[in-house]
């Protein structure tokens, strides 16, 4: 069977979501959905796993916290300890309270930026990249399902017949 890509174009997120449930129950695998905004409840229907991007933020944050603490220990305690206003810098432990703000800020800085960069890379969205949404109106008010015939047992014609049962605006094949 040749791999045909079928695009089903809808004009409403609710209709797309209900149609997706219907198609999935018929054994059709939905490869992707393009929409102008997140459709809540869609991810489990089309079998998307939860993103792990929040975990990366935690890791970046921890890196930031350790970098900040190491840095401040080096600057203030190890390399050039100063007695400022009768408050000497003897050990990291006694200085920790005054190091809290910078540690926190630097942790947040690393977590936020690290996660943002990871997000850009994982989505493959960076300045100068070309958009690959099949129809330009999917960023306005159209909702498109992308189905590959090779993903399921059914033939392209059968899939199209099932899609046609739903209130689809247009079925496109590429």
């Amino acid at each position: 069977m040749s791999d045909k890509t079928i695009y089903a174009i809808y004009d409403d997120d609710y209709v797309l979501l209900e149609s997706a449930k219907h198609l999935v129950s018929k054994g059709i695998h939905i490869r992707d959905v393009f929409s102008p905004f997140p459709i809540h409840g869609l991810d489990p229907v089309i079998g998307l796993a939860r993103t792990r991007i929040a975990i990366t933020a935690f890791i970046y944050g921890m890196i930031g916290v350790s970098l900040a603490l190491t840095g401040m220990w080096f600057f203030m305690i190890h390399d050039w300890p100063l007695n400022i206003g009768g408050k000497p810098n003897f050990s990291l432990l006694t200085n920790i309270p005054t190091f809290v703000p910078v540690t926190f800020e630097f942790g947040v800085l690393c977590a936020a930026h690290g996660m943002a960069i990871t997000y850009m890379l994982r989505n493959w969205t960076l300045p100068g990249f070309k958009a690959k949404n099949p129809y330009p109106r999917t960023t306005d008010d159209r909702f498109v399902m992308e189905i590959h015939a090779s993903d399921s047992e059914l033939s392209a014609e059968e899939i199209k017949a099932f899609i046609d049962e739903t209130c689809v605006l247009e079925i496109d094949e590429k």
């Binding site: 905004f37 944050g61 703000p101 800020e105 800085l109 936020a112 999917t138 306005d140 008010d141 739903t166």
Partner: protein, 491 residues
């Protein structure tokens, strides 16, 4: 379909609102020539900004002696303006981050303009500590860089250095948060653009966003985590700003309630600024059905709450200053000494603007009136400037030794730099209103079905007729239920 409680008022008004109408209306400014009002405002802003830049250049060339500072008054308008601008910034983060964590749907309509205000305001704030150094070209000394003084490092015990980290983290994280939200909306502009230059610009700015399911899933997760990070960040930033004062030994500054009091004051002033800007923008851009009177009222309620916290802090400061019985405390900015001293006019301005004025918002008639809100918000903006002026100038002017007591008189450079930052801010804001999607339009679309007036008044039956899922359902339903905006062909 998820519906909100019927008791909640709709957040998107009108019976004809569709997804494409939201796109159309929000992007109207980008896709059309600027209006006359915009051009007039831009001209005024540009003239003011040029004047301000001139003053800053004169200041840098001649030195900060051109300010009205003296031995007693080491800080005055510079830090007043700095704290004022940073404070204004806090509303944007509160709306975009804290209200996201609380799942407040009304934030969708105002988070974008509020966050733009945050970024521009913090940017303006950042200029003041820079120029008050006098020799700006040495500003990089605030960073712990290896140097030739035997590697003398910056002092990490000092709140002034915490400030460096706090403000720079704050501005860059806000920028990232804002931009990540903007990418999908830029993509909308890109896919609608007809002119090649416009298409190219927005293609570059939208980073090749496609809006597929996984990207949206990540988008929501990233927004949530960034909100979680920005929430403690925003509290820490103004706490640290307040510690610039609170950790010193100047009477009136040396106060443990400063951090929470400053944070509340910041949010208070920020919301007042959002009101000032949005009341004009929503009218000029005809977005009254997305930024409704309900939104204005919600923001006014936040002003009541934060203004109340600020009011309680004033009372506490006044009481504790008197109760300690310390003579130096009897002249601080919240004391009988200040109320009757040479800065009485500033003291009473503060009391009127921040204590009496917001109290009018307790009346529902007033807080739902746009004119009243605008006037009250404007007065709060002035009042919050006076608060910082009072804290800095009044406290410094009466310190331990009566022989060093001085008054502060601003010079034309003080005034010029401040007005100049207002001008630069306005330029940025007007550019934003013209070239950026002013509202998070794609996020607003997500609440249309749950909070839109049209959908809220609809029964489940009517909804099913409007959005039938299966073709077999249409035949049984009355004719004309499906068609509305779908006559136009794809592509």
């Amino acid at each position: 379909m998820h519906k909100e409680a019927a008791i909640r008022e709709p957040l998107i008004l009108g019976d004809d609102v569709t997804y494409s109408k939201i796109t159309e209306d929000v992007l109207h400014a980008i896709e059309h020539e600027p209006t006359k009002l915009w051009k007039v405002l831009m001209t005024i802003a540009t003239i003011t900004a040029i004047w301000g830049v001139g003053c800053i250049l004169y200041l840098l060339g001649t030195g900060i002696g051109t300010w009205g500072l003296n031995n007693t008054m080491g800080w005055a308008w510079d830090i007043t303006n700095f704290v004022w601008w940073v404070g204004i910034g806090h509303a944007g983060t509160l709306i975009s981050a804290v209200l996201l964590l609380f799942r407040q749907k009304w934030r969708m309509a105002i988070n974008r303009p509020a966050e733009a205000m945050t970024i521009f305001a913090v940017f303006m704030a950042g200029t003041f500590p820079m120029i008050h150094m006098g020799r700006v070209w040495m500003a990089y000394w605030v960073f712990p860089l290896p140097n030739q003084f035997g590697s003398l490092w910056v002092n990490f015990n000092s709140p002034l250095l915490w400030d460096v980290f706090a403000i720079s983290t704050y501005i860059s994280v806000s920028l990232v948060f804002w931009y990540i939200g903007l990418i999908p909306d830029f993509a909308t502009v890109r896919d609608r653009a007809s002119r090649p230059v416009q298409k190219l610009m927005y293609s570059l700015m939208s980073f090749g966003w496609t809006g597929n399911a996984k990207a949206w899933q990540r988008f929501e997760e990233v927004s949530l985590v960034l909100a979680g990070l920005a929430t403690p960040l925003v509290f820490s930033v103004h706490s640290i700003v307040s510690m610039d004062f609170a950790t010193s030994v100047v009477p009136g500054w040396h106060s443990t309630i400063f951090p929470p009091y400053f944070v509340a004051g910041a949010v208070f002033s920020g919301f007042a600024m959002v009101q000032t800007l949005m009341l004009i923008a929503r009218k000029a851009m005809k977005l009254e059905y997305i930024i409704t009177v309900k939104h204005i009222e919600y923001m006014n309620i936040v002003i009541i709450v934060t203004g109340g916290i600020v009011g309680v802090a004033y009372c506490t400061e006044f009481f504790i200053g008197w109760y300690t019985g310390v003579q130096y405390e009897s002249y601080v900015y919240m004391s009988a000494g200040a109320a009757t001293g040479p800065y009485a006019w500033a003291f009473w301005s503060l009391i009127f603007c921040n204590f009496i004025n917001p109290a009018f918002l307790w009346f529902k008639k007033i807080r739902t009136s746009l004119t009243a809100t605008f006037i009250i918000a404007l007065i709060i903006n002035i009042g919050m400037w006076f608060e910082r002026f009072d804290i800095i100038v009044t406290c410094l002017s009466r310190d331990y030794l009566p022989s060093t007591w001085r008054m502060f008189f601003p010079t034309w450079v003080d005034l010029g730099v401040f007005i100049g930052t207002l001008g630069i801010f306005s330029i940025f804001y007007l550019m934003f209103l013209k070239y950026f999607p002013v509202l998070a339009l794609n996020e607003v679309k997500t609440i249309l079905k749950s909070s839109g007036e049209r959908y809220k008044n609809m029964s489940d039956e009517e909804f099913k007729q409007l959005h039938p899922v299966f073709k077999k359902d249409i035949k049984s339903a009355p004719a004309g239920s499906k068609s509305e905006s779908d006559n136009n062909e794809e592509k």
